[in-house]
Symmetry: C2
Subunit: 413 residues, 2 copies
């Protein structure tokens, strides 16, 4: 008997029929002898509908009241799924975030989990029940209903799996697993049998929207084996765990990409110790999120600093810089829009110094000009023109042989 | 400054516009200097929609999961109303049943309130906030979400008013007050300025669906002055309180009526001490709710017992009786359908023994045959044919001069 946490997202529980389908999957796991905790999101579009209601009332609803409002979404799903299981003769009980002991910090809209008091869940599991927990929600020390923000239900599931010492956390979603790159753009994209936490973290952070990075980080920190699989099909998904022995010969595991990138260059900044710190403190204090940063010398006394931001934050960023021009003492600001970021990811890179060079070579051969570069131990990101994005991904996918099926460890779960 | 509990039902908060309207009413009370606790129901048809969802999942959802599901309805309303007030610059906070300290017994679907822990509400009121509380819901000792059953939000409001020692509990609804009889049937029906708890209790129990009897009983037991008024119009409502000095000269205060009555007669039961007890224990053990009961002797050794039930429970009742015929030793069962109950109510009746006689006289003069009679200190009920119901009510309304405006104490609130 394995203790397993399953998580079903909004699309997977988007209708009565889908909920029945999820119930049949849970039933199968119960009949196989597993001990189950099931985390669910709000039904399909119901969160959007609640947000719409709130926006009809006011254009600036308080975060505290939004949490009060939105958490009803998951509460509806848990009760319906519990009913569906009971109708199949399976003992089940639904628990809200606060009933499940999901303690969070006392902030609204994006609270972090502080601890989980498992007593209630353990008691229900001990009675042989399937425990259905509302994702995305928790309770603060002072009894306020909180939400975990984006990717919240994934995080609920992983945190519960860690806290309950589950042998696995299964994230069921509308894709069949983690792919070498986005299959909607690259036909040859291949589903990975397994991937490491760090690789998944880079993939998740870089726009491969399968799993929220926060959930992956949680899984990595608490060593929770994650599986991403389809809630609709019965195919093997992708395992995310620390050791991925059989694929270590693969240098690049996946390619992530995103458009909507804008490059801003601040020219002629004084070449001083505190220049970088002053510039980025100013930006972060004004809620400008910066991704890639590049610094290069301009002359002995001046440097240019470039950074990438999202398209939508350009206007605000320029206003912040203009405001601070006197203090930062730069000469000029330029920007370049309609860019995209393409990243190759793989833990094998650490010991393969030629990978970045190979990437640049492929791009150059295809006349794709690289605007910015950023590297970490397990990834290389380049910023290119948006119109070159898909071609870049396809060529890199080809070059690093990602479409080819390699002998992988069969995931036995 | 008065401390007031206001309650708005489902129709009054049935849309974003209606919620804004409620917010404007609350705002007015706040500006008038009152300290406010506002109890709300689920928006309009939302409870029905949730029930529909549950019934699509299973035709026998567990009560515990239904409570989990249905309580989301009020949670949506409290957050939206709180937002609407905040948007008007009024400090407001929403509280679920469990946050408001509404402790109930550990049963689902129809739990009784055991106690209220006011700490949170008092703390929020002390901060100058309007406190919006979800009606209909509570929490049991073991942390389960419970509901109070039918009329639950009225009961929540009255219980809070009692517990918070509010000077008044205002029930805002889609009628403008309590009438001498149902104005949809009797054009001359007149709104009462005030009525006593006991009279209201009889009115409420007898089908004048303005206020749930449970809430009235609670108000009576804890001496909470209740006001029933329209949430849409700015008219004076009806006060329900212990002393109604100015109207005591009125013998009959109102006329309640309901159709859907069926009379069942069990014939030839043994004339023994335990006959009544055995018959009605059998019926209640089988969930048959009996209203009026009449016993009359048949011969020395036998009695006939008649009782009234609702039309819908006839089939079940007959089955129960058939099953128990051997044990109860009766000879035969007959029944009569398409009946109605008409009741005159007034605390002045106690000291006016001729009231019932006058009622029978009016009915006889109009060729309305009385099938059953039941009396209490403050009411007389008769069962008549359903086709005679409205005529009976009109004639009684006329005879007891209920349409005439009397000099009443003006309700100053």
């Amino acid at each position: 008997m394995a203790r397993i946490v399953q998580k079903y997202g909004g699309t997977s529980v988007g209708s009565v029929e889908r909920i029945q389908h999820v119930a049949s999957r849970v039933e199968r796991a119960v009949l196989a002898g597993d001990e189950l905790v099931v985390v669910v999101s709000a039904m399909g579009k119901s969160t959007d509908e609640l947000v719409f209601l709130a926006n009809q009332i006011t254009d600036s609803p308080s975060k505290r009241e939004m949490d009060m409002l939105l958490t009803t979404g998951e509460q509806v799903t848990i009760s319906l799924l519990s009913m569906a299981l009971q109708a199949r003769g399976i003992e089940a009980i639904s628990l809200t975030g606060w009933q499940a002991g999901m303690q969070t910090e006392a902030s609204h809209g994006n609270a972090r989990i502080e601890s989980i008091n498992n007593d209630r869940i353990e008691a229900e599991l001990a009675k042989g029940k399937v425990v259905i927990v509302a994702g995305f929600q928790g309770i603060s020390e002072n009894g306020e209903i909180t939400t975990l923000g984006r990717g919240g239900s994934d995080t609920t599931a992983v945190a519960l799996a860690a806290s309950l010492k589950a042998s696995r956390c299964d994230i069921y979603t509308d894709v069949t697993g983690v792919f070498t790159t986005d299959p909607r753009y690259v036909k040859k994209a291949r589903k990975l049998h397994s991937i490491s936490y760090d690789e998944m973290l880079e993939m998740a952070n870089l726009g491969a929207g399968v799993l929220h990075p926060r959930a992956v980080e949680f899984a990595k920190n608490y060593d929770v084996p994650l599986m991403v699989a389809s809630s609709m099909e019965d195919t093997v998904g992708t395992m995310i765990e620390e050791e991925v022995t059989m694929e270590q010969n693969l240098i690049v595991r996946g390619i992530a990409f995103e458009n909507d990138v804008t490059k801003v260059t601040v020219k002629g900044l004084p070449n001083r110790l505190d220049t970088l710190s002053k510039l980025f403190t100013t930006l972060s204090e004004n809620q400008v999120n910066v991704d890639i940063i590049i610094q290069n010398q301009y002359d002995d006394e001046h440097v240019n600093i470039s950074f990438s931001i999202t398209q939508s934050s350009l206007k605000g960023t320029l206003a912040v810089l203009q405001e601070a021009q006197g203090e930062l003492q730069f000469e000029d600001v330029t920007f370049e829009e309609e860019l995209a970021k393409v990243s190759i990811i793989g833990s094998g890179m650490v010991s393969n110094p030629g990978v970045a060079a190979k990437m640049f070579d492929v791009l150059a051969k295809n006349d794709i000009f690289v605007k910015m570069v950023s590297t970490s131990e397990i990834k290389v990101s380049v910023v290119v023109q948006e119109i070159d994005m898909v071609l870049a991904v396809e060529m890199l996918h080809e070059e690093f042989k990602l479409a080819e099926e390699v002998e992988e460890a069969v995931v036995t779960v």
